[in-house]
């Protein structure tokens, strides 16, 4: 695994606008993000010979459409639209998280199949409420959840938070500092959906409660839009326009919770620790080797559970770490410096990866962690499909 170390680089970042209810199609937004990533690297579509994504819709959310170009953008359709299907050598499309497609893209380059691959996440927010289980009957895994009202991910996360609060004596007030800091980080990020909208602690404490103790402000903000990252070999990246960010290593988790429940605190700990152990094995690094951490925040509690799972703090101390400001800009380990999915927008981990790249290439502007050499990005909740990445500054040549 260490044979991969620093051989693949991210050479370009591209974003479409991240908004709600845009008049443009998702396919159009995806094409814009891909073109932006290519332009960032000083390349054009002719260079691109691979595309990878996870094109799925969120599991719950209004009309669960699958219309190509509107609800989803598969790499096959995007290749046609970009006019690169004639020379595309590989398209990757996982059913897991987009960050697994990122790992596959890195392997496509390492193996020599591709020279330049764009990994993108295009996401559409369908109309309707997220809390909308309207089926008369529930089948399969849902038969154990939906009849009890346990059909929405915010309530799953709430059940994890409640156990954590009860075990360690925390309350929502302990997370307010982090939520406020995170929004402040977002305001320093030109891509952030909530830029220009700072929050106060009272805004968090008085936020609309969905599944106590999870409020609307503990959930990421669903957006229409796309982010794209251009991967190539480190050798090639050094000839391109931008200073590259090196992929030092990655790992994925395979720990599943018991099947009668969606997720548990105990299983998330085990899963995060498994992902971390595999990352240390892959990279030779450890929990104290990072200058900034981009930790998945589809739901806010995952941030402190990752801090614990990675071994940055012991179990039960992650929320205190955030409460005491150690995750703030200027703190011991600045966390989610671009605002994460809570502030920048739901892109299923692309915000974390893009921000890791930004930090180790000194592109963070007002939110830059001075001289950041290594960033860690973690995605998902630690259970099966979770991934982690070590991204490093290029100090070689």
């Amino acid at each position: 695994m260490r044979a991969f170390r620093d051989r693949i680089a991210v050479a370009g970042i591209g974003y479409s606008p991240l908004t709600r209810r845009p008049e443009r199609s998702l396919a159009s937004l995806a094409a814009e993000a891909v073109d932006a990533a290519l332009a960032d690297a000083g390349l054009d579509r002719r260079a691109l010979d691979g595309l990878a994504t996870s094109p799925s819709m969120p599991r719950y959310g209004g009309a669960k459409g699958t219309v190509e170009g509107i609800d989803v953008v598969t790499p096959w359709a995007l290749g046609e639209r970009l006019g690169i299907h004639t020379h595309t050598r590989w398209t990757g499309s996982t059913n897991g998280m987009v960050t697994q497609a990122f790992m596959e893209a890195a392997m496509a380059i390492a193996s020599g199949v591709c020279s330049h691959v764009v990994v993108y996440r295009a996401l559409h927010v369908p109309p309707g409420s997220y809390i909308n289980y309207e089926n008369r009957y529930s089948v399969g895994p849902e038969q154990w959840l939906a009849p009890f009202g346990f059909s929405g991910p915010p309530s799953w996360a709430a059940s994890v938070v409640k156990r954590y609060f009860e075990m360690f004596g925390y309350s929502r007030a302990d997370l307010a500092r982090y939520i406020v800091d995170n929004r402040a980080n977002t305001c320093r990020n030109p891509n952030g959906f909530w830029r220009g909208k700072p929050l106060a602690a009272d805004d968090y404490l008085n936020a609309r409660m969905i599944a106590d103790p999870m409020s609307i402000l503990d959930c990421d903000i669903p957006v229409d839009g796309c982010a794209a990252l251009l991967l190539t070999s480190t050798e090639r990246a050094r000839d391109l326009k931008r200073k590259p960010a090196l992929l030092t290593g990655f790992s994925a988790g395979t720990h599943s919770p018991p099947t009668g429940v969606p997720m548990t605190l105990d299983d998330i700990w085990i899963g995060c620790e498994q992902v971390a152990a595999r990352l240390w094995e892959a990279t030779g690094l450890g929990p104290s080797d990072f200058d900034t951490a981009q930790l998945y925040d589809g739901f806010a509690p995952f941030v402190y559970l990752w801090l614990e799972g990675l071994g940055i703090v012991p179990r039960g101390e992650g929320l205190a770490f955030l409460r005491d400001g150690h995750g703030s800009l200027g703190g011991k380990l600045p966390v989610n410096t671009g605002g994460g999915a809570l502030g920048e927008g739901r892109l299923h981990g692309m915000t974390q990866l893009a921000e890791a790249v930004i930090q180790v290439t000194d592109r963070g502007g007002e939110r830059q962690v001075p001289g950041a050499r290594r960033a860690i990005a973690t995605i998902s909740n630690g259970l099966t499909k979770a991934t982690a990445f070590a991204i490093s500054r290029d100090e070689g040549q």
């Binding site: 809390i131 289980y133 939906a146 969905i210 106590d212």
Partner: protein, 145 residues
Amino acid sequence: MTVESEAVLRPLPLGDEVSEAFWDAAKAGRLDIQRCRACRRWNHAPSLACPTCGSEDLGYETVSGKGSLFTWCVLKEAPAPGFRDMLPLIVAIVELAEQPHLLLSTNIVGAREEELRLGMPLEVTFERVTEDCALPQFRPAREAA
């Protein structure tokens, strides 16, 4: 049709080959959980093969109905139209007494939110939703588990 029959219900479970024995038992007022005949581990949600030893020799056995509160949350918005009159709804995960980490998603009835404690003893009770469906629910245990 009467107004009552048109009322919007909570989503009903539709059993399958693996799970129908669970729902049939619930309808009869029993909590039956899948158990591996090879390694004797309890298994929920039921599956085609034992997740512990891989055996496909699985059956159902009636459990004590005793458990403890593993965690919970309180829904302030209806997760489906049929829950509109049930708010706030306590959704819970119960750890059944038979085996550590044998977890079941359910609701808590007969207790207020502020009475709930991690690990508090609970016992099963069945809520008949329709003529053909009863859901296992949990209430504070009447005697120490």
